[in-house]
Symmetry: C2
Subunit: 146 residues, 2 copies
Amino acid sequence: MKRPAGQHPGSIVIVGCGRLGAMLASRLSRSGSRVVVIDHDSGAFALLEAGFSGFRVTGDAVEHDVLREAGLAEAACLLAVTEKDTLNLMVAQVAKTIFAVPQVIARVYDPTFEALYRKLGIHTISPTSLTAREFLRVIEQESGRP
Amino acid sequence: MKRPAGQHPGSIVIVGCGRLGAMLASRLSRSGSRVVVIDHDSGAFALLEAGFSGFRVTGDAVEHDVLREAGLAEAACLLAVTEKDTLNLMVAQVAKTIFAVPQVIARVYDPTFEALYRKLGIHTISPTSLTAREFLRVIEQESGRP
């Protein structure tokens, strides 16, 4: 495990290094942000682009020690982007309530509880809603429908 | 199986009635489009909203007979939105090359082959890219970064 020692304030912690997590980690790191990415499977870090200069933490993000090791207590932002809605929302709540992270954003496939989480200070992003909107835009653009 | 007999030109055929397929089918149907939705699992149709007035076809969309039964030969548009990239791209290619459907759009999680498919006349939409863009927008908007 690579230890992200000495996190300065303002880092972005990303939970989940799947396709989305790796894409965000790579882009944010490239644009100068200090990035820490957590995944329970160290093999997932292979998705990061070659020049990725952030930190990698292998571990289960439901464990507070793992989040602490990733420097969450001093982070400016937490992005919860594993494949599991429940895990993303759990990590987001912990980040907001226990670690008092200023900005918390979670990917949530099921947008049902969006309003509830917004009340808790957690911004949720639903790929399903975004994708549906894009489909409707393309259909309308290309054919004048619906 | 409910037969969508007598499809008139201009219908929208949707392959895959998961969260995205059901959302698109419901919205397009509500806004007056003639919609046919195909899924291999008839239980998936439970995701359609109560007032859905389109047609449901239970079957495997890799079988041309199933696509024919759904009226694909006369359709104006095919949306391939199952959970599987390979299946979506296969159905999209069949729709374009064999059924000559004017507008073909596929959900593809892996955007690697986007350019290739665009050359074949297939518009691909990547939830990963869309979602990453939205995350970056929200991060920037709320904190002035990256």
